[in-house]
Symmetry: C2
Subunit: 197 residues, 2 copies
Amino acid sequence: MSKGTRTRELILEEAVALGSQLGLEGLSIGSLASRLGLSKSGLFAHFGSKEGLQVLTLEQAQRRFQQEVFASALGELPGLPRLRRLFSNWLGWVERDLQGGCLMLAASSEYDDRPGAVRDLLVAGQRELRGAIAKAIRQAIDAGQLAPHTDPWQLGFEIVGIVLATHHDHRLLGDARSRARANDAFERLIQAFRPPS
Amino acid sequence: MSKGTRTRELILEEAVALGSQLGLEGLSIGSLASRLGLSKSGLFAHFGSKEGLQVLTLEQAQRRFQQEVFASALGELPGLPRLRRLFSNWLGWVERDLQGGCLMLAASSEYDDRPGAVRDLLVAGQRELRGAIAKAIRQAIDAGQLAPHTDPWQLGFEIVGIVLATHHDHRLLGDARSRARANDAFERLIQAFRPPS
């Protein structure tokens, strides 16, 4: 990595951390500059606008999500092993100690009714994630691990619900049992879609 | 209702609408005053501080939630009928066309890592809701409608997940099928906890 690329990466990592804490809408070039001890004008030249900062920050968080949640799941066999790994990686992601929780989930609440580049990116990221989950489910059906009538989008929707409840209970209620509850829910859900033996 | 009480109520309703749109953190006495065409100093005298405004707004939204989600469910028989009604009332609440979606869910993302009066109120409201769900589940167990080994908190957790996924998909993805998916998920979930026949 060149020194420029490395600096850029460090700035974006700080922006993700700050955005997770304050919300993307609360993230500003001024607050980031003071956190980094850099000049506001230098950062402004880099990002161009507040929306530019928000978009690049969200893209950085999405890239990390892809690496931590998707990429490592691709090492598992297609089908149920990969679906399980996607699920546990995602739970790991939402339960991380990064202050502020998942940037994308927080931003979904902030931007669900604010049209623009940030919302479009969030929707695209969510569609990609849902597509990856549906694909793993389809591969599990093809491998005879799930029943042929399984609706990948329905099952995906329910998996998303388990992750959202875990994130919510872990962060708002500080409930240490949420991970165990999530695993129980996931296993029962998979069981309900097993092929008749 | 006295004229004073009625004015107070109208102001709070506007505050809930504005807070749902901008987030509670984005809600300010200034923005509310300009929406209502009232003087900022008059509203300031009423609410005392930004936190005072946030707390009273959240309490108003929680009162409405109690009326619309809890109170009407109490008209159903204890057990599964009441649990079903709680679920469908809650889905109705998160899918309403109130711009900005559910104030409490949006605020959960905003305040999950900000200690203070707002977070405490959110936690108290969520615990009350979970308690009501667990109670309806226990009554369903007592009535023989759910299996004796059913864990009310586990089943409650999973019901919450379905609602969160519905809210998320409805608001961020504009997915019209989310209500049907939610109902399918709920019925399968209840089926899994039915007593052995």
